[in-house]
């Protein structure tokens, strides 16, 4: 016993999902030498993820949070639910990537491996109970994503996107580290729970230095979830990166960022709720404002969705600001819904891409409903869901977040939020308007595949089903995050 504990082998059981994902990633790297068909690799990837998913659900059962590796790694409902989001994210991304990467002439085998590595990084972040682990997970995720963003190495836009993402990412992780070091210096530990404890014990909750460290942490997390003013990378990277990766990035790192933000703020700095709220509220407001407003003037749909995802980060933040377990739940719930509707939207965008046709300009959507009613209808659903109009899931997400914000007494914030959601409605409607109310310039040909259709079906169905029967999701979220 002694020995096992010393090595922490017992903990291995808790990281089975992570291990699975990483092993599959490694296998894919080797497989790349043997098989040439990318479909196989995607299939293996998806299969592996499903195994991990299964593992996660087996572990779901364990009552109470499971600790491992000297409490550096925690496995609780919170982590598990985020992992669920990551699985969905990566599976859907793989589905929509297949044909697309071929069209982009960038179908490299390591693509799928990298997706999985990045995902494993996110999973580690979600489970990190210690700032060190958190840092490692974050870097694992980030480094793989940098590469993915630049994967179309023949295309300058992709290069530039990767470049910017890399430099700014590194810049932000420097902030993270500085924050960690400050926190460590004052609390003498990097374990979140112990930080909370020593904040109490040493009674330094209102020491400016601690708060300084916290601010640096918020800055770097804000970078990952694209809060204004740490969002500047997002539009450029979203536009430049391969669309499938844009979809991946718009959900994965954002969710991971929220995962760590939530955990750090609630577990470690819960006692400083007032202080960090004072910081987050203005951030949330300007994030919603900038996101919704600047998106109006965009002509490239990927870029527009980048700003939209910034605005959504603002809405999600409301749940954190609420500062209650319920608030956290609402944010997580929002993230899950956001995953479906956003990837769905990007899937439609990807369908338009074909040999010698970018299909990224909003004008390319003119009269889509004439040639491809189904695709247009799907896009319509996703757009209205992003706007937050019932009976789509988007509404449920927004409603829950606003509910928690108001419940915690931030009614004014909620009013601001709804106003901006009306403004944002305009640019989502514009897509619908282009698809249905304008005549097509040239007839668009869609590049579809079984996997693509599968992804679209899943996302659309989920968006509608969650919209009509929210309980299906809500109950799951609520059990994973004890209120």
């Amino acid at each position: 016993m002694e020995t096992t504990d010393l090595v922490g082998l017992s903990g291995l059981r808790l990281i089975i999902p992570e291990l699975t994902v990483i092993c599959i990633a490694l296998i894919l790297l080797l497989l790349e030498l043997i098989v040439k068909k990318k479909e196989v690799m995607a299939a293996v990837g998806i299969a592996g993820t499903l195994v991990a998913l299964y593992g996660t659900f087996k572990l779901f059962g364990i009552n109470g949070p499971g600790q491992a590796f000297a409490n550096m790694f925690v496995l609780d409902g919170y982590a598990n639910f985020f992992k669920l989001i990551f699985y969905v994210n990566v599976i859907l991304t793989m589905c929509i990537s297949l044909k697309y990467m071929a069209v982009e002439k960038a179908s490299y085998g390591e693509y799928y491996a990298l997706l999985l590595f990045s995902t494993s990084g996110m999973m580690i972040m979600a489970s990190a109970a210690d700032l060190i682990v958190l840092y490692l997970g974050l870097e694992l995720m980030a480094l793989s994503t940098y590469i993915l963003a630049g994967l179309m190495r023949k295309q300058l836009r992709s290069n530039e996107a990767a470049l910017k993402y890399f430099f700014l990412g590194a810049f932000s992780s420097a902030f993270l580290l500085y924050g960690i070091s400050l926190t460590y210096g004052l609390t003498g530990t990097t374990n979140l729970k112990e930080i909370a404890a020593s904040l109490q014990a040493l009674n330094i909750a209102d020491s400016p230095i601690v708060f300084l460290g916290l601010i640096f942490l918020i800055v770097s997390f804000g970078f990952k979830i694209a809060l204004v003013p740490f969002h500047m990378w997002a539009p450029d990277v979203y536009e430049g990166a391969p669309t499938s990766i844009t979809a991946f990035m718009s959900v994965g790192p954002k969710a991971a960022g929220f995962a760590v933000l939530g955990r750090v703020l609630f577990e470690a700095f819960g006692s400083m709720h007032v202080q960090w709220n004072a910081v987050l509220i203005p951030l949330a407001v300007i994030t919603m404002a900038a996101g919704s407003v600047i998106a109006l003037a965009q002509s490239n749909i990927k870029r527009m969705l980048a700003y939209s995802s910034i605005a959504h980060a603002g809405y999600m933040l409301l749940g954190i600001i609420a500062g209650t377990p319920g608030g956290l739940t609402s944010t997580v719930n929002y993230l899950m819904i956001y995953t479906f509707m956003n990837i769905g939207a990007f899937a439609v965008i990807i369908m338009l891409r074909r040999e010698g046709f970018q299909g990224e300009s909003i004008d390319d959507y003119m009269g889509l409903a004439k040639g491809h009613p189904l695709a247009a209808a799907l896009m319509l659903i996703f757009m209205f869901s992003l706007t937050g109009i019932p009976p789509t899931a988007g509404f449920i997400g927004k409603f829950y977040v606003f509910m928690e914000a108001i419940n915690s007494g931030h009614t004014n914030l909620a009013i601001i939020a709804v106003i901006f959601s009306v403004i944002s409605a305009f640019f989502y409607l514009r897509i619908v308007m282009y698809m249905y109310m304008k005549d097509p310039k040239e007839d668009v040909v869609l590049t579809t595949s079984y996997s693509m259709n599968f992804a679209l079906a899943i996302t659309a169905v989920m968006v509608l089903v969650i919209g009509v029967f929210p309980s299906l999701l809500l109950d799951l979220v609520r059990v994973s995050i004890p209120g």
Binding site: P391, I406, L429, D475
Partner: protein, 515 residues
């Protein structure tokens, strides 16, 4: 709960009524042939109408309680139920909605060529949404329908509308959305004040502090005033009406406009009685302005549809005036006038649509002498004209008289001012009729002319007949509708007039209490 009557029928009639159109819409998804689609849609709407009839026949007029109630758990974690039912206020709108849907399908029979499938899907979705709004007894459910309705309407206007359709559609959508989201915040606040329920009946039975009432009333007012629409929130209406396809205009005028006033009756009044009494004066003022303003603008209109659209502003002014008179005559008159306006203005839009199909112009000046060109058409149109003027013997009179009566009873001055609207109404409607139908026609439109205009055909007469019949039926025997309302309206007025702060009637005193 004591103030509901569970569905007395053997089958969940309301659920069937609301979701049959959805089923029809889903059915359409698997169809290619436009003709088949039209027939299916027509059958669906007719079936919905037929299914909804037992609501009228089995309705218990003696009670104010919610009837045909169905309640199932829906989102337990939020304490939200699938909770539907109707009372004397909503039952008539169910009837109106199901009927007008049938007619709007009929009238689009030839008019809609492109994207027929999407069009009819949208119409059915819209019908379901509208019905849902009127039956929902849970605020969350209500809001879902209330917003969901916007999507098909947005498409109807934007896709099948006139030249300015896109502008009109987006204006309509955003305008109404702004109001709705503010209401959403109000709903959530209410949710927590009431301790985690959105059950409308429970919410109505509670007492809220005056300050809260004040703000919530404003939040709801934002949503409802835009929908009504009350001056000065009306400018989306002319554009939407003018650009929408006939079916769209009909449903817009016939049902959507009613939801604002319905909201006032169903939510604002019973939940915030004190705030309601506080806002009577401002709303009276806005209503009177709306009545006269709308009428004056009509005098200056050059476009047929635009004129009718602005006349709606005037008529809905009467409605709000009536329901905020807070006495039986006013409220019942208001409700009746909503139905009347649905019938008359709906019919007017139908007829304008029919003539537009023939002449392809809505400019009043292009017409003239049509009484000789299309006599039957002219004959039916004059009936609508006088119904809209409020001539005794037509439904318009009953509504307007009761409203003016109620308003006069409540606040003499406003009653008198509003009554001037009756004169102006005669002014613009007769002016319109003369310009379009009297004097000598343009020979081009004559039977031997270059674009001969044919008179109404059977389909169109069938489309209009029920409305014409209703006009006279209600005109000579309004009790057929009024009798449904009495109990509910009486109960509503009790709620409004006896509440914690009843007595302190001066606006200032209450405002002091708030700030």
């Amino acid at each position: 709960m004591e103030n509901i009557i569970l569905n007395q029928l053997s089958y969940p009639i309301l659920t069937y009524t609301v979701f049959l159109p959805v089923a029809g819409a889903l059915l359409l998804l698997f169809m290619r042939n436009a003709g088949l689609i039209r027939v299916t849609t027509l059958l669906t709407t007719v079936a919905t109408f037929v299914i909804s009839l037992p609501l009228l026949t089995n309705f218990d007029k003696t009670t104010y309680k919610m009837q045909f109630v169905e309640r199932h758990e829906w989102i337990p974690s939020w304490g939200i139920n699938y909770f539907i039912g109707i009372d004397g206020i909503s039952v008539l709108f169910i009837f109106l909605t199901t009927m007008l849907s049938v007619l709007s399908v009929l009238v689009s029979w030839k008019a809609i060529e492109n994207k027929a499938k999407e069009f009819h899907t949208a119409v059915l979705a819209l019908e379901a949404g509208m019905l849902g709004v009127f039956v929902a007894l849970d605020f969350f459910l209500f809001y879902i329908f209330w917003e969901a309705m916007l999507i098909p309407m947005f498409l109807l206007i934007g896709v099948w509308g006139g030249p300015q359709r896109v502008y009109a559609a987006i204006k309509f959508f955003l305008y109404t959305l702004v109001g709705s989201v503010l209401m959403l915040v109000g709903i959530v606040v209410l949710y927590f004040t009431a301790g985690g329920t959105l059950d409308i009946l429970t919410l109505s039975s509670l007492q809220y502090p005056l300050q809260l009432q004040f703000w919530l009333f404003l939040a709801f007012f934002a949503a409802f005033a835009v929908k009504v629409p009350m001056f000065p929130f009306h400018t989306w209406l002319p554009d939407a009406h003018t650009e929408a396809p006939t079916a769209g205009s009909v449903i817009l005028a016939g049902v959507l406009l009613k939801m604002g006033a319905y909201g006032f009756l169903r939510f604002s009044m019973p939940m915030f009685p004190d705030a309601t009494r506080m806002f009577v004066k401002p709303i009276f003022i806005l209503s009177v302005i709306g009545i006269i303003y709308g009428a004056l603008v009509c005098l200056a209109q050059k476009d047929l549809k635009r004129l009718i659209a602005y006349s709606s502003v005037s008529h809905m002014g009467f409605v709000t005036l009536g329901i905020f008179a807070l006495n039986a005559q006013g409220v019942e008159g208001g409700i009746l006038q909503m139905v009347n306006h649905g019938i008359v203005t709906g019919a007017l839009f139908l007829m304008i649509g029919m003539i537009y199909e023939r002449t392809h112009t809505r400019v009043i000046a292009d017409y003239g002498g049509f009484a000789t060109v299309v006599p039957w058409y002219a004959g039916l149109f004059i009936i609508l004209t006088f119904a809209s003027i409020g001539l005794p013997g037509t439904n318009g009179f009953i509504g307007e008289f009761l409203i003016l009566f109620g308003a006069f009873k409540a606040q003499k001055l406003y009653g008198v001012l509003a009554a001037t609207g009756v004169i102006l109404g005669a002014g613009y409607m007769l002016w319109l009729y003369q310009k379009v139908f009297w004097q000598t026609p343009d020979p081009d439109y004559g039977p031997s002319g270059r674009h001969p205009v044919r008179d109404l055909d059977l389909r169109e007469v069938v489309t209009l007949a029920p409305l014409i019949i209703l006009i006279f039926w209600i005109g000579f025997y309004p009790n057929v509708l009024l009798s449904y309302m009495h109990a509910s309206v009486e109960h509503l007025l009790q709620d409004v007039n006896m509440s914690a702060y009843a007595g302190k009637e001066t606006l200032i005193a209450q405002l002091k209490e708030i700030f």
